[in-house]
Subunit: 568 residues, 2 copies
Amino acid sequence: MLKRWLPSLVWVSDYSQSALISDLMAAIIVTIMLIPQSLAYALLAGLPPEMGLYASILPLVAYALFGTSRTLSVGPVAVVSLMTATTIGSVAQQGTADYATAAIALALISGLILLGLGFLRFGFITNFLSHPVVSGFITASGVLIALSQLRHILGIRAHGEAAPELLMTLGSHISDTNLYTLAVGSLTWLFLFLCRSKLPLVLMRTGLSQSLAGLLSRAAPVLAIMLTIGATLAWDLESKGVAIVGQVPSGLPAFSLPNVTLSLLEQLALPALLISLIGFVESVSVGKTLGAKRRQRINANQELIGLGAANVASAVSGGFPVTGGFSRSVVNFDAGAETQAASLFTAIGIALAALFLTPVLYYLPQATLAATIIVAVTSLIDIRIVREAWRYSRSDFIAVVATIVLTLLLGVEMGVIAGVSVSIGMHLYKTSRPHFAIVGTVPGTEHYRNIDRHDVLTYPNILSLRIDESLYFANASYLEDIIYSQLSEHPEVEHVVLMCPAVNDIDLSALEALEEISNRLGELAISLHLSEVKGPVMDRLRHSHFLERLSGKVYLNHHAAIHELSRV
Amino acid sequence: MLKRWLPSLVWVSDYSQSALISDLMAAIIVTIMLIPQSLAYALLAGLPPEMGLYASILPLVAYALFGTSRTLSVGPVAVVSLMTATTIGSVAQQGTADYATAAIALALISGLILLGLGFLRFGFITNFLSHPVVSGFITASGVLIALSQLRHILGIRAHGEAAPELLMTLGSHISDTNLYTLAVGSLTWLFLFLCRSKLPLVLMRTGLSQSLAGLLSRAAPVLAIMLTIGATLAWDLESKGVAIVGQVPSGLPAFSLPNVTLSLLEQLALPALLISLIGFVESVSVGKTLGAKRRQRINANQELIGLGAANVASAVSGGFPVTGGFSRSVVNFDAGAETQAASLFTAIGIALAALFLTPVLYYLPQATLAATIIVAVTSLIDIRIVREAWRYSRSDFIAVVATIVLTLLLGVEMGVIAGVSVSIGMHLYKTSRPHFAIVGTVPGTEHYRNIDRHDVLTYPNILSLRIDESLYFANASYLEDIIYSQLSEHPEVEHVVLMCPAVNDIDLSALEALEEISNRLGELAISLHLSEVKGPVMDRLRHSHFLERLSGKVYLNHHAAIHELSRV
């Protein structure tokens, strides 16, 4: 029982020395990678750099205690940071104290929502985020993030939550481009891009193993930071208009609770829910992918608790919304982390950085961080899902394209809402016009198949209709249309038999439609029968008056129905 | 072709003298009934009484030309008038010119929406309004309407769109009750109530036919109007504080188009859509009920055109939103109307009333109209659907109760949105945890049935799982959970066969879950097979790489799978 709520007890109880060494090694590598990443995502969220560090300390500890993945690494991630920027940008002015407070409040509300969902065991609600919607949303977010960072590379102003405004403001200020900033930004970008795409191969040629080569190339952002700090100092780039990070307070975060007013809560509640759900889906999919490689299972409801605790921990220690990140978790995993102890050591590493490293960051150009972000989000942009959906099904294709287009046009918040609505709408639309088939006997057997696909026998006085969908409010009237139009094509019919092996449910609206059909057919002296009604559906029909009022019978199997009715 | 767009051509071409006489008789009776009703619904919408008359002239002509029902009577109805009051109350102050303009604009927008949906053949979208939601919504609206009219009976102020505010403001002003107004209102109510419930029986005892007795008792509101006008004059009730209708301009409405600004359009668009949909659903259900009695069919898409034209006609002639009403259509039908000519004659009747009758209405107490409304809406309140849903299915019960409660608490607009959301959410929730069954062979046959319900044979190395639902994003991860948990209970399994006769669709999210399952089982040296995959689903799977990657096979029928796998 205690282990269910504190999954960390499982690995703590048999922690070995070899695991300790692996976890320590992984922690060192992850810490080096996380310092630039934390600063960069704080910049992306429009927050002071130290908040990025704070969000990478206590949340790691909280997740280590309550989370179920052994290798997931929690902290600020790109998409959630963008959503944070969008949300708090609409309640406060960037750069003000209210802006930072809103970010902290957002983490708190988001954490409480996750905890609440976890205690209620509501993990299933993320099922309503379909794969095309999530993929499309992340791709579009990647594009929006890259666009939003271009201003730091160019050294100009630009703003906006959606692509049209971002592009327009970028375009109207393009003539203000600071060439020194552009040089720093674009060279850093080129450097990081080459390190990411070529360095592992180059290192492998020198005899290094693939995983070691991969890990070493992950240190490129730290190198970029050191080089560009050096360049800024050497050529006094600050005086030439290159924006730098500036004063970063050193020390550990103070514990405090943000002052969440009722009006702030009202404004942040819906965005916090969206951030929680998107963050949760992203994190669980990372956790599952890594877990599968080592046969470790993820418990979705406990993950809600773990991520909720991490966000509350972020809020009380001056951070902003966090979740399990893909790149950081992969590095942690590849570096050999065996348990969440690696995350605990990483938290210590980041805390040391917050204590001693901040003075060094004064001359760090913002363009360096922006280049880091752009290179990182390039991996989020993946339009293969569009091609795959196009090939597989029109409704999935519409859902993914709608999500991408609407997220780009309307911003992340409306984009995810619109994507979910479109995918649910497409599903309902599909099931509102279900596939149906007129069936006949496969000669010499008791099997019944579609007359359009198979060579089967039928009787002129019997219409056998197989409905391939549960009957519910959205398709109740379509069912009436099908039956009446089939009857007008087959005027000699005396019996209609609805074959229901694929009818998994009949709701009240559909039940009333069936009664209506039965009555209408009765007036035309045609009887309505059902066959192969599933057990659970039959149980429910017995709770209504439908069976008493039905003009025909219910047959256990379709052959019995045809056998009996064809002789009458 | 022309007859499709102008259904009236059908009956015009063979119009007979006997139909003319029937239609004229019906028109006289409907006109007498409509005069008080039109005034009352204008009062309910907070609009000047003449607008109720205007809304009962040109809209009838427009529907007569474009509608498909021969006996439907269009005009102001209770629920739509309440929704109109709620909507325009939020953009303008009652009693101002802007308020009336907003009502006219609402009719125009609503009409254009209906026409647009009709031309796009989007009649299906009303399928998403389930029967429990519509019934619950109409019942709750009836309660809200009755509550909103109580102030006119008591002669006090009260306001609010939802039950709590209405009750609170009524309570806080109850001491201002005007006893003369209360006397007029409550006596009128009692008179109308007795006429409605007892008069038909009394008249039938005198030898009148049931339908004639019913029709005569429908004239009671006109009698009530005459009596209370007389009483107001005789006892000078106006000076004693009884609110009267006052000056009603005589004459026909002037044709004009309302000035719809962009900001007004923005505010009215969503409410207009809701009003259109609710009005359409109500009207079509009345039309279908009456049509069924005379074997006349209603075409939903053409009905959108007919009602759209009626609303545009209402807007250009100074009216407010209209739809096909239940009570007026039933009276029209019972009075013997055979074609829409009856509505054309009724329109002439109301036009004559607008020209010559308005001076008489000066002394009509508002309490009389309020009593008329309250008696009329009592028939809308029907909570049998709650009991029926309770007995039949929990999800329908939740949908109907949620709709009623939320409409009462939040008002009509939020109520209908919440009701639709709840019913769609319940449907998704149900299908997100589909019924599944482990199946075995019925001895001596090739049939496979649930091992919990039947005495069947199974093999220890084969897990046969029948999934009773289409596989889509909302249940993709539940499928994984089912399979993994079944495998942990049956560790000796070597083959998992998913029996899919009830799987009507597999979307992209579910396909990826299946690939994931196949891979995971592959690692455990278990193969995944499918059986009885439906034709359309199989066609789609062939468009993906799933079949190549599947560790097992796809069998045409489940018995073939078991026959082959049990021998391996």
